[in-house]
Symmetry: C2
Subunit: 329 residues, 2 copies
C-alpha cells in the first residue's frame, strides 16, 4: 500500500524534533562513553551499563567518598556496610516491587542433582537455555544502599529521642541496560539515612540539600536542585510520580552529563514519611510511627560529571578540585 | 520393628565420633558467629551467610587490603575494579558451571507489562510464588574476583614478553548458606592475577606463597600451607578434586577459625594452566596459548581469623598487628 505524504502539522513537527533529539542524545551518549572507554577509565564488559573501573576512576570515587565522610563527620552516624544483596523477605516487604518491578534483580541458583547438571551442561553446549533448574534464592540485589538498614534498626526497638542516623555505602543493581554511562546497571550509592520524627527528617533533608550544593560547588560542577521525576512502572506510574512531586517527597541535585536539557540526578534528598516506619514497625521514643529520610550520593554519576566538566585527564583538573579530592599530594 | 542393639565395631565408633564432632563444630560455629553478632561486628540480615559489617570490621578489612597493596607494590599490576557481577556470556564460557553449578548466582528481572505486574503483586500479597515473570538477565554474580578480567585482557591481543599482572578486588557470591561465619554467601576477594608463560606463572605463585606466609605472620596468625580440596559438584567431583591435587594446581593457606581440625582456607595460590588461555584465546608474545594463575586473599576470612585469634576488641590486639594494619595512629 502506498501512502500519500501530507505536510506535517505542529504536533508532528514537535514529535519528529523530539525523535531527532533522542537520536542525537544516543549518539552523544555513545560518544562520551566511547571517550571514557578509549581513555581506559571505564572497561567494557560487553553488557551495556556494566563496566570495570580503572585505578584513576576509583581514585575519584574514593576522593568524593571521603569528602562526603568529612561533610558528615558531625552526624554521629553509625557506619553499616552491607554486601550488594539483601534478604529477599525484607525486599518483598519494602514494596519496591510496587514501584519498580522492572529494575529489581533477584538471585537464582542451580538446585538440581547430577542428572539436572548433565542436562544443564548439554544445554550450554548446544547454545540452548540452561536456566531451567535455576531457582530463586533468599537473596535479592540491593536496589538502593539504604534498604538493608531499616529492618536492622527497627529490630532494636524504639528510637532514642534524638533519632538515629546511619551511614551506608554499597553497590546497587538496576536492570536498565543503557548506552548512557550515567545509567549503569551496577553502581555505588553512599547514603546518610535519618530515622526519627517528621521534624527531624525534614530538618535533616534541608540541611543536606545545602551541604549537597556545597559539595558540588567544591567540585566546581554546574548544578541545580529540582523535584524528582522517578520512572514509576506501568500505567499507574505517572499518577504516583505526580503525587510524589505534589508532596515534594524527593528532590534531586542535577548535573548535565549527557545533555544540558536532560541533566542527570547525581544526589537525591528523600523523605519517605512513614513508609518504612509502617512496614518495619519503627517507633519513635514516644510511640509514634517513625518517619525516615535519606540523602543519597550517586558515586559513579558524580565521578562521571567530573570527567565531563573537567576533562578526562585528572592531572589537568583545577588545583582546588584536586586538593578537595586528594589533599596536597 | 524393634532392633537388637549390637556392640559397635571400630568403624561405627569412628562414624559416631565423626558425627559428634560435626555436631560440636556446628555448635561452635554458632557460638563464634553469635559472639561476632553480639559484639556488633557482624549484623545479621536473617539469611545465613549474608551480614552487614560494622565500622571496626571494615577497618580491619581495609587494613589487610592496604597491607596486600604494599606487598604487591613491585608487581607493576594494572588495577581493575569490577562491580560484583559479570557478563553472562563470559561466565558461561568460563566453564565454572562444570565444576560449581550449585554455587553460582544468576540475576533475573521482571520482564512483564501491567497485567503481569498486577499478577506479581497479587502473588506477593497472597504469599505465593511471584517469580513467574522473572527472566534471566545478561548478568551473573561474580564467583571469584578474577573472572571478569580474563576476557578483557585477552581482547588486547598477545601478551608482552614480560606477561601481565592484574590487581582485582570485588564482592563475590557463592550460594552456600551456612552458620559458619567464614562461609559467607557474599564476601570480598582481593587478587593478583598473572598471565604469561608457564614458567612466569609458576614463579609468581611460588613467590606469593612465600609472601602470603609473610603476610599472616605479620598479622600473628597461626597457619600452614596445603593442597586444596575444592568441593567439585556431583558424582564426578571427587575425581576432579583428586586430579587437581595430583597436579598440584591449587595451594591454600589455612588458618583455624571454626576448628583446629578443619582450618579455613584464607588465601589461595592457583595455577590454571591453559584453561582460561584456551577459552579466551590468550596468547603469549611468541604465539603460544597463555597460562594464567592467581593469588586470592579472602578478606572476610582473614578478618575473621584476626578476631578469632586476637579477640573481639581491636584495642587489645598486639601492638605490632595494630601497627601493621593501621600504622602509628
Amino acid at each position: 500500500m502506498s501512502e500519500t505524504k501530507l505536510p506535517l502539522d505542529d504536533a508532528q513537527h514537535a514529535d519528529s524534533a523530539r525523535a531527532l533529539a533522542d537520536v542525537l542524545e544516543r549518539v552523544s551518549a555513545r560518544t562520551f562513553r566511547d571517550e571514557l572507554i578509549d581513555a581506559g577509565l571505564l572497561i567494557p564488559t560487553g553488557v551495556d551499563g556494566l563496566y570495570g573501573r580503572s585505578e584513576v576512576f576509583e581514585s575519584v570515587v574514593e576522593g568524593i567518598n571521603q569528602l562526603v565522610t568529612r561533610m558528615g563527620a558531625d552526624q554521629n552516624a553509625e557506619v553499616m556496610r552491607f554486601p550488594p544483596a539483601m534478604n529477599r523477605a525484607d525486599f518483598e516487604d519494602s514494596e519496591y516491587l510496587k514501584s519498580f518491578p522492572n529494575l529489581a534483580g533477584t538471585v537464582h541458583s542451580f538446585c538440581g542433582g547430577d542428572r539436572e547438571h548433565h542436562r544443564l551442561l548439554k544445554c550450554l553446549e548446544d547454545g540452548e537455555d540452561w536456566m531451567g533448574d535455576q531457582k530463586p534464592t533468599r537473596v535479592v540485589l540491593t536496589p538502593a544502599a539504604c534498604y538493608p538498614c531499616y529492618p536492622v534498626v527497627a529490630k532494636r526497638g524504639p528510637l532514642p529521642a534524638e533519632g538515629r542516623t546511619v551511614d551506608v555505602y554499597s553497590y546497587c543493581f538496576r536492570h536498565e541496560p543503557s548506552l548512557d554511562p550515567a545509567r549503569m546497571q551496577m553502581f555505588r550509592m553512599r547514603e546518610y539515612v535519618r530515622m526519627g520524627t517528621p521534624a527531624q527528617i525534614v530538618a535533616f533533608r534541608q540541611m543536606w540539600i545545602e551541604r549537597g550544593k556545597q559539595l558540588v560547588e567544591t567540585l566546581a560542577l554546574p548544578h541545580w536542585i529540582d523535584l524528582a521525576n522517578d520512572p514509576f512502572f506501568g500505567r499507574g506510574g505517572k499518577i504516583v510520580a505526580d503525587s510524589q512531586r505534589a508532596q515534594e517527597l524527593k528532590f534531586e541535585l542535577l548535573i548535565p552529563i549527557e545533555s544540558e536539557e536532560k541533566p542527570t540526578a547525581c544526589l537525591s534528598f528523600n523523605y519517605h514519611m512513614d513508609h518504612f516506619g509502617e512496614i518495619w514497625k519503627f517507633r519513635t521514643e514516644d510511640g509514634e510511627i517513625a518517619h525516615t529520610g535519606c540523602v543519597g550520593f550517586g558515586m559513579e554519576r558524580t565521578t562521571l560529571a567530573m570527567f565531563r566538566h573537567h576533562g578526562l585527564d585528572v592531572a589537568q583538573w583545577p588545583a582546588s578540585v584536586r586538593e578537595a579530592l586528594w589533599g596536597a599530594r
